[in-house]
């Protein structure tokens, strides 16, 4: 049996995983990344429009700060987020952008003087300040009060991932490509690494590590229509769930992006609307202002997606042979703007729709886009249930997005979480108390168990076909666990998914091809995906309220009184067909921003009994501190800086807020 030893095993080679590995490596620890694909092909590359960080360089970003970013993010989350984590995040995001700038990311830069932009369908001239010339640009995105998304044309994720991967190579971080973790090795209290399958040879190996970090991204492929890459199957999250000990949080919180091209579901960036693009219906009418007079096309994604589907239900969609859709019109931005700032969008339209978006409208409809839920961790990034197991990025629920993530906050989260968890994981490894005293017998047991499961897939007397089960699961999730949810449909989905899970235990792999054997890969993955799908559907069924992206037609109001809490799902019984759900309350009395109206979407919600008390307490506190600077006030409202690694504490300099 081949055993690889390392201090830090990072599962997943996207932005979050590689940044964790670089952080650990810089502190002198061995870090090894395993990745399903070459690291530069990770789904992080697909982020197009931008990375939120309150640099406040452009005119429309003036006055932006961590405070505004914090409030936007919490409102976006529909108060589901952990506010301390949001504070950690907004304070680190500018540092992340600036670190990446130093590492070579060719951020789009401010040009001083006049420029024409489109705001609310009107052509407007902005005059950028002389002193901003050459600093990093920001563009507008949904759900934000200020222009905050820093970007590299519309290839932001690509440029970031390349700079990050090249930095990992420079740091000597090995990336074991085409390797997949099938199980975490643990004893119920401590994680020791993972059983890993080589996707070239098919060989099973053990990776033994002091600390293991899951950074495998989202689980979009639980759905038929998704913007996610084909590798986003949630396997990293699933193997944490399969420990029976670690919990996954808020899996029912699934984001649908308003502008997946129709019908393929390929993403076109929110930057299209941020830069002034409009949504139009089958009659060419701009409908969003009718629903959302405040933010229009730039309300948060959950709200815009729901309004789009609502409009289609009224029969206002454009008809096509694949069903109804709506239009995204960016023709008003002009060819020069599209050629410079939306070039990936232009390519996607040309290759997949056969249109020129400077001349024609883009057929769009909401598509699954982001997994807010993930492996539950504390603000440090470590699982509270399984020592030595960490998670970062989309795979994690530490939990900065709550029930809806803002555009541009995910690519920012990957890097920020990588920076924070990278430092914390190095601290963890440096502490002698965390040395491991592991048994080779335990490692052998885990490898043999996984080998046994694979062997059983060949030998089973079953007749089930893995691809067919997968397709049924994806149809169920898209049709019954989508944007609009009802108790009846969710019950049907939970029931049908359980049956699929049982059937998946009788999958028969027919081909004995040596090497990775794609048929075998589908077989073992679909068993894991079904468990995650059940966490999503069952969590959605039990949560009898609407919050952020989770919308129940039979319970349309947000109910803080009963549901201001995070869903925690565990899977204690390997042969069971349902997760065990538990709930973790969010404490209003510790919130810096108590629940209220988001500024868009429904104004109707049921308050938590503590909300009024906390609000008046905060008002009194702010009143007593009149005259104090914003950092002192913030610290009095909700101290968080102690949660950050020392190197990441401290203020961020801006043009209008110089460091003294």
């Amino acid at each position: 049996m081949k055993i690889v030893y390392t201090d830090v095993l990072v599962i997943g080679g996207g932005l979050a995983g590689q940044r964790v590995a670089i952080g650990a490596r810089r502190r002198g620890f061995d870090a090894t990344v395993i990745s399903l694909v070459p690291a530069k092909r990770s789904h992080s590359a697909a982020a197009q429009g931008g990375m939120q960080a309150s640099l406040a360089n452009v005119l429309k970003a003036q006055g932006d700060s961590e405070d505004v970013h914090f409030e936007d993010t919490v409102r976006g989350s529909d108060w589901g987020a952990d506010q301390e984590v949001v504070r950690m995040f907004v304070n680190t995001a500018p540092k992340a952008v600036r670190e990446l700038a130093a590492w070579g990311v060719p951020w789009s830069r401010v040009r001083k003087g006049d420029r024409e932009v489109i705001i609310n369908g009107q052509r407007v001239t902005l005059t950028e300040r002389d002193e901003a010339h050459g600093l990093i640009m920001q563009r507008d995105f949904g759900g934000t009060k200020k222009w905050r998304a820093c970007y590299v044309s519309d290839g932001t994720g690509h440029a970031l991932l390349y700079a990050m991967s090249d930095r990992a190579i420079a740091s000597g971080v090995p990336v074991h490509e085409r390797a997949e973790a099938l199980a975490l090795i643990h004893d119920g209290g401590r994680c020791y690494g993972a059983v890993v399958r080589d996707l070239i040879t098919g060989e099973l190996m053990a990776y033994v590590a002091k600390a293991t970090a899951i950074a495998t991204g989202g689980a979009g492929r639980l759905y038929r229509v998704t913007t996610n890459a084909v590798i986003c199957e949630g396997i990293g999250t699933a193997i944490a769930l399969e420990t029976g000990v670690a919990a996954v949080g808020n899996m029912e919180a699934v984001q649908f992006h308003p502008t997946g091209i129709f019908p393929a579901g390929i993403l076109v960036t929110e930057g299209c609307r941020g830069d002034g693009g409009l949504l139009k219906d089958g009659e060419g009418h701009r409908f969003m202002p009718d629903y959302e007079p405040e933010k229009k096309e730039l309300a948060s994604r959950d709200v815009v997606s729901r309004r789009m589907e609502e409009h289609i239900r009224k029969g206002k969609g454009a008809k096509s042979r694949f069903g109804d859709h709506l239009w995204l019109d960016i023709t008003l931005l002009g060819r020069a703007h599209i050629d410079r700032n939306l070039r990936e969008v232009k390519e996607i339209c040309a290759y997949f729709l056969g249109i020129d978006p400077a001349e024609q409208w883009i057929a769009v409809r909401p598509a699954q886009h982001y997994t807010m839920g993930g492996v539950r961790t504390t603000p440090s990034g470590q699982s509270p249930a399984l020592m030595g197991l960490f998670a970062a990025g989309e795979a994690a629920c530490w939990d900065m997005h709550g029930f809806n993530r803002l555009g541009g906050n995910s690519v920012a989260e990957t890097v920020v979480a990588g920076m924070i968890v990278g430092e914390n994981i190095a601290d963890f490894c440096a502490d002698p108390a965390n040395d491991i005293d592991f048994s080779t017998g335990l490692v052998r047991d885990f490898v043999e168990r996984e080998q046994g499961k694979l062997d059983a897939l060949f030998a089973s007397g079953g007749t089930e076909d893995a691809s067919a089960i997968r397709a049924e699961m994806q149809d169920l999730m898209t049709d019954k666990v989508g944007i609009f949810r009802t108790g009846r449909e969710l019950e049907e989905a939970v029931d049908a998914l359980q049956k699929l899970l049982v059937r998946s235990r009788s999958i028969r792999v027919r081909g004995h091809a040596l090497g990775a054997n794609p048929e075998l890969v589908t077989a073992y993955r679909v068993q894991k995906m079904l468990k995650l799908a059940l966490c999503v559907a069952y969590g959605a069924l039990v949560r009898t309220e609407s919050r952020g992206a989770h919308f129940r037609e039979d319970y349309p109001r947000r109910n803080d009184q009963e549901w201001l809490k995070r869903t925690l799902a565990t899977w204690p019984d390997e042969r069971g067909t349902l997760p065990t759900l538990g709930y973790e309350p969010l404490d209003v009395m510790r919130m810096e921003l108590p629940p209220g109206w988001r500024g868009y979407g429904a104004k109707d919600y049921i308050d938590h009994p503590d909300t009024a008390r906390r609000a008046s307490e905060l008002e009194a506190l702010k009143g007593r501190m009149a005259g104090a600077d914003r950092f002192t006030v913030q610290n009095a409202l909700m101290p968080y800086e102690h949660l950050l690694p020392v190197s990441l504490r401290g203020h961020n300099e801006r043009m209008d807020e110089r460091l003294t």
């Binding site: 951020w107 010339h133 690509h158 490509e177 024609q360 091809a513 090497g515």
Partner: protein, 255 residues
């Protein structure tokens, strides 16, 4: 603007039957020989090679190996030889061909099986060899302070070259690489051009000459321009190589 349109569908014509010929070989199966296997499928509206191959694997042959990740033309995983020309399979619509489509793995790269090749290994080795990262001053950067300024036009120029997705099409189309297996390829030379342009990288032309100032670098290129012809991102590869060659020649002559 004109009235919005959907993609022009030929609604009334019966769907075509496509014959997809795949060059197959699993090097892990001892005693087998490479062979061409033909799959027949019904063309669907908007069908890409990603959709066609996925359908074949799901419904006809679960052992068929290929690599797709983003299926949106941005990650570079799916480069293969499509009717004799390297390209990204995921964004290639079947409608642009006759009913016969022949697929082969990219040459040069290590074959994993069927249409899957190990571009990642080749690209990592290239990156290590050419040190494709910004070489910074030791002191590092104070993350609390404002970022260094950069000329907006220069940032755009750097991004233009940074758009490479390491798909390997240029490597597969390169005549020089057939003769010189150690040649760094257009992808490698483009990286050097990119970092040379970047003021944050403190390397000089002397340093770059050490990396690419020989026949396995910029002087090995025979200017066949195959790289630029097939680059799915339309990078100005031949122009960059010519420019770099001039700079490296000037550097070499002063030595």
């Amino acid at each position: 603007m004109s009235e919005p349109q959907t993609v022009a569908p030929n609604d009334h014509e019966p769907p075509r039957r496509l014959h997809i010929n795949v060059l197959r070989f699993n090097p892990r199966e001892a005693g087998t020989e490479p062979r061409v296997q033909t799959y027949e499928i019904e063309e669907a509206h908007g069908m890409t090679l990603f959709l066609a191959l996925s359908e074949i694997r799901e419904k006809q042959d679960p052992s068929l190996q290929f690599d797709f990740v983003c299926r949106a033309g941005i990650c570079g995983s799916c480069a293969m030889v499509i009717n004799g020309r390297p390209g990204l399979a995921c964004r290639t619509l079947t409608t642009q061909f006759g009913s016969e489509i022949t697929l082969a793995p990219l040459p040069v790269f290590e074959l994993i099986g069927d249409l899957s090749v190990n571009t990642g290994k080749w690209m990592r080795a290239m990156s290590e060899r050419l040190e494709t990262w910004v070489h910074m001053n030791e002191a590092g950067v104070d993350l609390h302070k404002m970022e260094e300024r950069m000329d907006p036009a220069l940032a755009e120029e750097v991004y233009e070259l940074d758009r490479c997705i390491e798909c390997g099409c240029c490597v597969g189309a390169c005549g020089t690489l057939r003769m010189r297996p150690g040649f760094v390829g257009a992808v490698g030379l483009n990286k050097i051009a990119r970092f040379r342009l970047d003021p944050r990288d403190n390397r000089s032309d002397d340093d770059y000459y050490e990396l690419v100032g020989d026949d396995e670098g910029v002087f090995g290129c025979m200017s066949l321009v195959g790289c630029q012809d097939v680059c799915p991102k339309n990078l100005p590869l031949a122009t960059q190589i010519a420019f770099l060659r001039r700079k490296m020649l000037a550097n070499g002559l002063k030595r």
